[in-house]
Symmetry: C2
Subunit: 361 residues, 2 copies
């Protein structure tokens, strides 16, 4: 019994042709078929033609599943995100997806909804599905879970959010510097009493943004009056702004992301504050949100699409080179000045950057 007999003829319409079928059809062995299909080894041009003809004739479609089993590569990459509906992440997905597509990979999008349990479940699935690599943009994965991934031979890369203790490359923006830039800009406009609204400070990125912001303020001798934190979305932004303005007199607020800024902006407007006349609002991200609200948001801009694109580029590079490049790419944030910021209301800008002692209102 020759190897070719191990399976019946592919006559059944529902049964997709395999390399056995095209081997039989073209009168060569499956090994040769495989070689032709993958351009591996050497083969006569005539053989090659025969095989290709059979492939077309039978409408052969390779099974990536079988390839992955035998060849150890799934050509798939998993992406762990907190929320695809957040324009920041949906833009990241676009960048990631474009790069992956152009290099032959597909991406499995995993929305964790900020839920670590769900994240853990996904990580397990991704391991089972033998992803060639995993992008983690949640910032909440326990380091030991990442280590397990590495042990399992899966390449991992972090995106935007650092994770302490994780020995993997990362592509991100300099959050501290971003916060610093924001504060400098507001201080130069004359603001002395500032507030901050941010994502949960359990996230390193949130802490860094606040850290840079606070540092610049302290340097200038101005006051970081109040810090609100703990949310991500528009609702949270409104809630935090309300809480912040209820007890504090600030002339400018820096928010940790665009969604929070939008919420804060809406609340301010509804509460009767003029932006930027009564209060300046400054955001972080530069998603489409910051461009479409009115007033448009001055913000610390990240190259979002590129972040996604570069991350995938590095990850795929690692996968194909077969090793983990312990690199760390930190992109510089940029100031994007729009309409939500301006000088503080009259009477509050009475101090210069140095002296610090103020007596506003």
């Amino acid at each position: 019994m020759t190897e070719t007999d191990r399976r019946g003829v592919c006559s059944n319409a529902a049964m997709k042709p395999t390399i056995y079928d095209i081997a039989r059809e073209s009168g060569v062995s499956i090994a040769t078929v495989s070689n032709v299909l993958n351009n591996t080894g050497r083969m006569g041009p005539e053989t090659r033609r025969k095989v290709l003809r059979a492939v077309n004739a039978l409408g052969y479609q390779r099974s990536s599943i079988a390839t992955a089993l035998a060849g150890k590569k799934s050509w798939s990459i998993g992406a762990l995100l907190p929320d695809v509906n957040n324009p920041y992440f949906s833009e990241i997905v676009r960048g990631a997806e474009d790069e992956a597509f152009s290099r032959g990979y597909s991406v499995l999008v995993c929305n964790t909804d900020h839920d670590v349990e769900r994240e853990r479940a996904y990580l397990r699935t991704l391991r089972h599905k033998q992803m060639d690599g995993i992008v983690i943009a949640t910032g909440t994965t326990p380091a030991d879970q990442i280590a397990e991934l590495l042990t399992a031979g899966i390449h991992v890369i972090l995106l935007a959010r650092e994770i302490e203790g994780a020995q993997v490359p990362i592509v991100m923006v300099d959050n501290y510097q971003g916060g610093y830039l924001a504060a400098r800009f507001l201080l130069e406009l004359g603001h002395r009493n500032l507030g901050f609204i941010g994502e949960p400070l359990t996230l390193r990125s949130a802490r860094d943004r606040l850290g840079g912001f606070a540092a610049a303020i302290e340097e200038a001798g101005a006051a970081l009056q109040v810090v609100g934190e703990g949310g991500f979305g528009i609702e949270a932004g409104a809630r935090l702004a309300a809480g912040l303005l209820a007890h504090h007199r600030v002339t400018a607020i820096f928010t940790g992301n665009d969604q929070l800024a939008v919420g804060a902006l809406q609340w301010c407007l509804e509460a009767g504050f003029q932006v930027p006349h009564d209060i300046s609002l400054m955001s972080f991200d530069d998603t489409v949100f910051s461009r479409i609200v009115r007033p448009s948001l001055t913000c610390v801009a990240q190259p979002i699409y590129d972040l996604g694109r570069q991350t995938l580029g590095m990850l795929i590079g690692a996968i194909e080179a077969g090793e983990q490049p312990a690199r760390r790419v930190v992109l510089a944030p940029e100031l994007m000045i729009r309409d939500s910021t301006g000088p503080p209301p009259d009477g509050t800008a009475s101090n210069d950057l140095k002296s610090g002692g103020d007596s506003n209102e």
Copy 2:
């Protein structure tokens, strides 16, 4: 040589344990291990315990790849979308993903960027990867490509956008009705000269929205003065609005989606039109965009998240029932009245819906 010998002991740290390892460890056969793992067949509670213990001891992780090869199921679903960065689709992805996750499936997000070539490439990949099902939300896939998918035994379902000639279920909103509602609303406000800006009319959904809109206008004896079409994004919205208002006196514009509406709104505001005082703007979708711009957008609302969720529910149902339910779910759109619409400016609303002569406001 027994079957158990076919592979060496899993001593190598980098080598992940397989069912052979746990079979050896627990002193049973791989068949039994498989049964325990899948809860198939009957087994003694003691055997079961032994196996489970070994699973834990060795840190066994099933290979979905092998399962898919042998079991004919990949537990993966592909989703073809024109643009994940469009909030409409990113919300759909959330709904789809939530349902898929809760039922044990993962979703491969394929961004076609409105490019049919890219779409075709993705479809091929999805077939190779043996997706259990595919969701198509682009509305641009040639019907014969869909037929091929079906032939290959892959379940297909359309989402939001119909495709003529495709014999597959669909979950969508009644676009014609939506357009009709929009027109009725604007007409009742007193508008007699209306304009339309929409996605390319090659899309059935765009044609239907326009169709319903035009029909209601005609019924009322008012004028659909001008139709602009051909784009999807914010930029296109601005461009189309500019083109439309350059030569036509309309008091209200209906846009085919929220992105277009945002663009149109921006352009109007920048051109000095007051919205809704000088011109009313009405949109379609009810994405987050319509809630955050100012004025907020009155629109025909779709239950976006549910659209995604229900689609996946039906698809998975079909996959698990093993047959294609030729269903068609058409959800009703709803009017969501916000701030971008109002009565036409004085002097233009001089006709009532029926006779043509009234003096409202």
